[in-house]
Symmetry: C3
Subunit: 301 residues, 3 copies
């Protein structure tokens, strides 16, 4: 079992706190509108990978200070777009580049725990993509100004947003957001289906997300969540293949301690107490899907 000390990671641009089963990551570049830098890519990626393996963690919340000028205003382009170029890729040409926002998205999608974005301020660019779309749930302030401005900046929607957004809310609404670069608020019909909950005040967003997280942490099985997320992200290429996958997953669940506790708690009309851990109780059959290694070759360890 891995129990990392998050304070010993030398983190600079994010503040990470473990409270019971809830790991909270606060973006810590308020004075720069929490814009994305190479360092914040490295730090968030590292923490989501640690949280994935840390059996103490059941939910990860990403948020910002609610007094910051923004949740995240996009990439830091004070030095032009090149701020995110990795030197080793720069020399090799266009195919070698790996988008930093996309690296963050993949790390969040890889994380088998419940993930929540608590968007308590305005958001633009990568603040809409990597810092919102890969999460399981999004809580947002009703007054947040939200924009995917890419086509108005001469670039393209990044961080796997063209993959994620249409799957989340359909192509009709995704077009209305990604191809216009319009600024909307959460109640807009174009975007409202993206949000699990819309809160009236900035300061109310994180507490609502935290209370939701605590209830889920207390009453859901960590292993069930991991399988369910796996099935949702990798459902099989046909309904028959999905049937084979979920049949196997449910059998594993039903025979596990958590599965037995689930039945027992139901019969005894009490809340369950799930104790199975990802590090010990997941079948070697998981993950059942193939993953392309997308790391730039020179950056491999």
């Amino acid at each position: 079992m891995s129990s990392p000390d998050y304070r010993a990671q030398g983190l600079k641009d994010i503040i990470v706190t473990l409270d019971g089963a809830i790991l909270t990551i606060v973006l810590n570049r308020a004075k720069d509108r929490n814009t994305l830098t190479e360092n914040i890519v490295d730090e968030t990626t590292k923490v989501f990978d640690l949280a994935d393996r840390d059996d103490r963690v059941r939910v990860v919340i990403l948020t910002a200070e609610h007094t910051a000028p923004a949740y995240c205003s996009g990439a830091d382009i004070s030095g032009g777009w090149k701020v995110l170029w990795r030197p080793e890729a720069e020399k090799e040409g266009e195919h070698a580049h790996r988008d930093g926002g996309g690296e963050v998205s993949l790390a969040i999608m890889r994380c088998r725990k419940i993930t929540i974005a608590a968007i308590n301020g305005h958001a633009a660019g990568v603040g809409m993509t990597a810092f919102q779309l890969p999460f399981d749930f999004r809580f947002v302030w009703a007054g947040a100004k939200l924009t995917f401005p890419f086509v108005r900046r001469g670039i393209v929607p990044e961080a796997t947003s063209t993959y994620l957004l249409p799957r989340l809310i359909g192509h009709s609404r995704a077009n209305s957001l990604l191809l216009t670069g319009a600024t909307v608020t959460p109640e807009s019909p174009y975007i409202k289906d993206l949000y699990h909950q819309i809160l009236p005040t900035r300061e109310g967003v994180y507490p609502a997300a935290k209370a939701f997280a605590e209830e889920l942490a207390a009453n859901t099985s960590m292993v069930s969540i991991a399988y369910a997320k796996g099935l949702l992200q990798h459902p099989g290429s046909s309904i028959e293949e999905n049937h084979l996958l979920d049949s196997r997953a449910i059998k594993l669940g039903a025979m596990s301690n958590d599965g037995k506790e689930g039945v027992l708690a139901f019969k005894e009309r009490r809340l369950p107490k799930f104790r199975d851990k990802l590090s010990e109780n997941v079948s070697p059959w998981y993950p059942w899907w193939r993953t392309i290694d997308v790391r730039h070759r020179q950056s491999k360890l």
Copy 2:
């Protein structure tokens, strides 16, 4: 042409009635909250397969008694999860299990007729998955308490729900239901897009579904429906492939008796009278997709 006598099938846990072109299946385990048993899996699977081949049937409705304590409260777990294990699979290990709810889902999806779930009571677990998601249309009582409780029971969403639900309403709303296990009512923004119609009373649900079914049975082509369902479920892996498929299907339709009747009725400003039958009027080209045989090998006939 196959015209089975549904009363001669020895059905015990469902009541099946053919009224004109509408086949109604009523769950008949009210005193057990219509929970799923191995027998109800076998019976519903059998009836959907019969209805698929019965030229008299244009629409299949699944419902419950509106006075039952629930439409379906999930699997019968009075004996633990094992209630649904098939003995022959049990011996072979996790890969051999076939989820009963999934077998029901596949049978409903295979049925080329119009399918409607008339959910006139509370629903949980497989009552939300196999008994709702594979249907073409869902009619529901506004007061129904609805829940996908899997992650709160130590198991995983089954019956191909991780395949079907995101396709029906998008991943954002599917996450809000499947990863929380929350209980909602039909007007909830998380679930409302799932329902074709929401009715104010329990007793009003089935009559509304039946009237809808009768109108469709009278005025739609059985063969058109079969092709349209095939195209929606197996649309081709690219838009170009879809163009090849629907071009062929529309040519077949246009040259058929039903296609000719469609034009004629339109010109004569009258309702059409479609007579083509699935047993006689479907091209050998249908089905155009490959299907994995997912039966457990020992259970093959």
Copy 3:
């Protein structure tokens, strides 16, 4: 750079006007309810292909006269369904047919510019499919009667609608439209997510679409739009593949003149002035996807 003279194309059933960067196509068969003919398939297909290569064009709008009896009432079936059969395919059998509506859909989907349907009247059949679904945005009159009547005519949903509609608004809503053939208006919960904007009057639809088009033409990059549309339509078969694709696209964008102008305009707090052209500034890497050649062999040039 290709700058076709649209007036020299001998167009008969559509009227095409280039106003700045906006190309408007008006269906010109009002007295026949703008029904689809073989000729209108050929003309619209040709114009969308020309617009795709014309660097002057940033947005294409399809509309009708707002005084016409309908935006488009479907295919012209005054002579039966055969109106759209191509003679050379007719001889060869069902597999050789290519649906005319589908040819239009593919041409619109191929067009790398922003595309808008301005639906200022009633719509049925191909007026719902090819003349609406392949567009990036749909503006519609609130009073329009809208119907996909296929299953009530003995044929099947065509023009790639079974591919496009579920992707746009989800399978639940797509079923409610395609499998019923019901007539709805734009505010119906079954269809409202399809529309970017719903306008109260017929005469207000085109001006709203035009104003929207002009704003996008002025402030978005033509090359960004082409890459963004490519990513949305061909996002990669996994999130990792999407990451490789959007990483490459954003690097290309960021290094382009439009990308530099995007940063500069942002820093100078002014609107951008994008000058890059599709004919000169797209990487040979684009398109990155494979396309099946679906032309009927005999019709190849």
